[in-house]
């Protein structure tokens, strides 16, 4: 325990925490994407997935227990990720009290420069997304009940909420726009996490940036498919 505290107090340890929590959040993004792509299979399949999430582990676990554990884990990861960012930035801001008159950003990429503000944009987008499709507070026509196989469940009608939500063009556009900071964050974040966790080997090093790009574009591109499908009428309310 003292060792864990010691590591957390080093900047390397805080970065390792960011890398691990970042990869946890990435794991969520992958699972969330795969689940939501079920929208292409129609309302039953999609709502089955949404209701299934709440019955995960049935009959061994109470309803929503597994979902609760996953949500708490994600919240903890997100909080740790952001707490570490702010602490590290404070350390680094103090490390250069006098700025260069002529600065030069050697080797910076747009993605590496955008980590902090892009990250904050992500945080804002995620909150807006939750308010839109989880809590329904930002939704114009949110249904809090769903009928599946003739049974009415007290869970949101995920299919209806998703499709009717993205039928508002500016909402879909904002959502599409938010994929840009996401892709950039993942591109630099994944390469950075490899460095932070010491995942390097001369044989594979040159694959790290391309692999990060593929994952980043794959995830952001995958998320783009859903509002695009709604906007083009490929996916409709019924």
């Amino acid at each position: 325990m003292t060792k864990a505290c010691w590591i957390w107090r080093t900047t390397i340890g805080k970065k390792a925490a960011m890398a691990v929590t970042g990869v946890m959040l990435l794991g969520f993004l992958v699972g969330h994407l795969l689940g939501n792509l079920k929208v292409f299979l129609g309302p039953e399949a999609f709502n089955h997935y949404a209701v299934g999430l709440r019955h995960l582990g049935d009959p061994f676990l109470p309803e929503r227990a597994a979902l609760l554990v996953m949500r708490l884990g994600l919240i903890a990861a997100a909080v740790l990720h952001v707490v570490a960012v702010f602490q590290l930035r404070a350390v680094s801001a103090a490390a250069r009290p006098v700025a260069y008159t002529k600065g030069h950003k050697l080797n910076f990429t747009p993605a590496s420069s955008a980590m902090f503000w892009g990250g904050l944009t992500l945080a804002a987008s995620i909150l807006a997304h939750l308010a839109h499709l989880t809590w329904g507070t930002l939704h114009q026509d949110f249904r809090h009940e769903v009928v599946l196989n003739g049974i009415t469940y007290p869970y949101a009608d995920a299919y209806h909420n998703l499709v009717s939500g993205f039928q508002v063009p500016w909402v879909a556009a904002l959502y599409l726009l938010a994929q840009i900071p996401l892709a950039m964050h993942l591109y630099h974040g994944l390469w950075s996490a490899c460095q932070t966790l010491g995942l390097n080997h001369p044989k594979y090093n040159h694959w790290r940036r391309p692999a990060a790009a593929v994952v980043a574009i794959g995830i952001a591109g995958g998320y783009c498919l859903i509002p695009l499908a709604v906007l083009t009428g490929l996916v409709t309310l019924n």
Binding site: A4, I7, L88, A94, A95, V98, H188, G198
Partner: protein, 251 residues
């Protein structure tokens, strides 16, 4: 060729610094950057003015003392060389050149362009000792070192401790320096006995000094006069995390 120089002048660590403008007239593109500063200093001395203080020793890229920031780049616009290896052919007549000291809380300015890089020495000290066998000289090749390890260790050992990595880093982090120093011993059999305590000691010292954290932009690698790779930063991180996770070495 003629150059316009904006040089950071600061009388003492506590004095307020500012840029002063000088001209270097009729300098030759074959001259090194430091020779050009020598010429400017001769003029200043002739005019009874205080010469520009800058640090230098070997003037051949091995001592690591000459680092200054030229137009925002530590050691200037060329790659793979120290300021003393920068030649005026990298500039055009009439160019304006901004010359600043390395800027980091951990590197207080002593005078003009000279900073105190003692923090790097304290990191080395915190690495502790290396157990060596004393007595008569050992036979050659008594300790076998695989070639690829030897080469990587040599690549890391190229670090001359100039501090350009700290100067270039947007966070004034000493990661590339520490990574090179930790890696070069961790890769060799001679470095094994104190491997864990070395990385822990050095990282603890880095955090006690006023250095920032690594954001993996790689500016350090671009500025390094020895071209030391950020791959060593991954190795440093791995060394530290391994030291943290594995049980401490038992006697």
């Amino acid at each position: 060729m003629n150059l316009i120089l904006h040089v950071w002048r600061q009388a003492s660590p506590t004095a307020r610094g500012r840029f002063e403008t000088y001209t270097a007239n009729d300098v030759n593109e074959e001259m090194s950057f430091l020779e050009m500063l020598d010429v400017v200093n001769e003029q200043l001395i002739a005019n009874n003015q205080e010469p520009i203080a800058f640090e230098h020793d070997c003037r051949e890229g091995i001592c690591g003392s000459c680092g200054v920031v030229v137009n925002g780049e530590p050691h200037g616009p060329h790659r793979g060389g120290a300021t003393c290896q920068l030649h005026l052919r990298h500039f055009k007549s009439g160019d304006e050149i901004w010359i600043e000291p390395f800027r980091a809380k951990a590197f207080p300015v002593l005078k003009d362009l000279i900073v105190d890089r003692g923090a790097l020495d304290r990191i080395i000290q915190a690495g502790g000792y290396v157990s060596v066998r004393t007595g008569s000289a050992p036979d050659a090749n008594a300790v076998l070192v695989p070639k690829q390890y030897a080469e990587q260790a040599m690549n890391a050992a190229e670090c001359i401790g100039c501090g350009a990595c700290v100067a270039a880093c947007p966070n004034a982090a000493a990661m590339l320096f520490t990574a090179a120093k930790v890696s070069h011993l961790a890769l060799l059999p001679q470095g094994q006995p104190e491997r864990t305590q070395r990385v822990e000691g050095m990282v603890a010292r880095v955090n006690a000094e006023a250095f920032g954290h690594c954001t993996n932009h790689g500016a350090c690698e671009a500025a390094c006069p020895k071209g030391i790779s950020v791959d060593f930063i991954a190795r440093l991180n791995r060394e530290l995390l391994k030291a943290a996770v594995l049980p401490p070495q038992e006697p």
